[in-house]
């Protein structure tokens, strides 16, 4: 036992008198970093938006050149799906600012984690289903259309059917991957719930 124990106030004083090891950040640096972060997020949004725009342009042309009402309708639905996807990107997926004014620490995290989890769980609704519907109509239109020159009908159907199956497989993989991500968000939520129980709130 020490004869000169450190009183609690000394711990606080020591805590506050720690040497500052980190170079001070000026507002200029912080603003630069904020802009860099915004640019990075914007870049991702722009990439996704350009992808959707390319889809809109291609299927816009298809509407004009493809034969048959079913193919034209499928191309139109693909454009609608792409527009809806871009809208969801900007409205639903866009990251929220930290923090929300009224949120205490753990509440803010819970809401953000729930939002991410629900987005992943609902991906079939806002990203997959519109494209699957549009793609199905396109493939159906292609199925009933006249086979390509030099191809027999059954080979043509085989190619169209194979393409449709591949499309469905890709979307199923995207859906499963998002379900897996939703489970990971849920794990984090369970962790936070555990903290709350432990804290007695």
């Amino acid at each position: 036992m020490s004869d000169n124990p450190i009183p609690p106030v000394d711990i606080k004083v020591m805590w506050k008198n720690q040497p500052r090891a980190i170079t001070r950040l000026g507002p200029e640096t912080v603003r630069r970093n904020a802009k860099r972060l915004q640019r990075r997020r914007l870049r991702v949004l722009i990439q996704e938006t350009f992808g959707a725009l390319a889809l809109i342009v291609v299927f816009g042309l298809y509407i004009r050149i493809l034969p048959g009402p079913l193919l034209k309708m499928g191309a139109g639905l693909m454009i609608v799906a792409a527009v809806f996807y871009v809208w969801c990107l900007f409205v639903l997926v866009r990251p929220r600012r930290v923090p929300d004014g009224a949120a205490a620490c753990l509440d803010f995290h819970r809401r953000e984690l729930e939002r991410q989890r629900d987005l992943c769980r609902g991906v079939w609704r806002w990203a997959i289903l519109p494209f699957v519907l549009a793609g199905t109509v396109v493939y159906a239109g292609r199925w009933v259309a006249v086979p390509s020159i030099g191809r027999s009908a059954w080979i043509d159907h085989l190619i169209v059917g194979g393409g449709a199956v591949l499309m469905l497989e890709s979307f199923v993989l995207v859906w499963l991957w998002n379900l897996h991500r939703a489970d990971r968000w849920q794990d984090q939520l369970d962790e936070l719930d555990g903290l709350d129980k432990e804290a007695g709130t």
Binding site: S2, L25, P27, L37, A104, C105, G200
Partner: protein, 174 residues
């Protein structure tokens, strides 16, 4: 833009007043010096971005600590997912403290190192309370920042005072 100037003025004032506290907080959450620097930058970034939405419903101090703890807790959860750390509750730490074998004397640096080790071992809710207590916030302010009930905060403060007393009074260092 007027809003931007206002945001910048607020940020400069907040950074001047709470900058050292944010660094101490980052140090308590992250032991790795490089990652600590990143965390400090993340906190400042979040503060700067948040201040244009500061609505005055709570004090600037409460707002600042909330942002800082939000960012730091997020940092810890991310780290925890990559590297499985076992975080302890105040009760676990209190039990462990009973088995300590403290030395008679200790330098401030050693005390700080021990304190940091203790803080980093705590679960986020306990860690927040500990840090805010060390920053000299009262129970009501800690409750406001963390969102814990005032009763839960009072119990936690009582426990952590007793842990600090046992770890740093009875013979100082281990």
């Amino acid at each position: 833009m007027a809003g931007g100037d206002d945001q910048e003025q607020r940020y400069v004032a907040v950074a001047a007043e709470f900058g050292p506290a944010m660094e101490r907080l980052a140090g308590a959450y992250e032991a790795d010096p490089d990652l600590r620097c990143d965390l400090v930058q993340e906190i400042h970034l979040a503060l700067w971005r948040s201040l244009d939405r500061f609505d005055g419903r709570c004090s600037v101090r409460t707002w600042t600590y909330r942002v800082a703890h939000n960012v730091a807790t997020s940092h810890v959860l991310k780290r925890k997912r990559r590297r499985i750390d076992r975080l302890a509750s105040l009760e676990d730490v209190a039990e462990a403290a009973d088995g300590d074998d403290p030395e008679a004397t200790v330098g401030e640096r050693q005390v700080m190192e021990r304190l940091m080790v203790l803080i980093r071992a705590l679960k986020p809710a306990d860690r927040q309370v500990m840090l805010l207590y060390l920053e000299d916030l009262d129970a009501a302010a800690i409750s406001e920042v963390t969102g814990l009930s005032s009763g839960a905060v009072a119990v936690k403060i009582h426990r952590l005072k007793s842990i600090l007393a046992r770890r740093f009074h009875q013979g100082g260092a281990p």
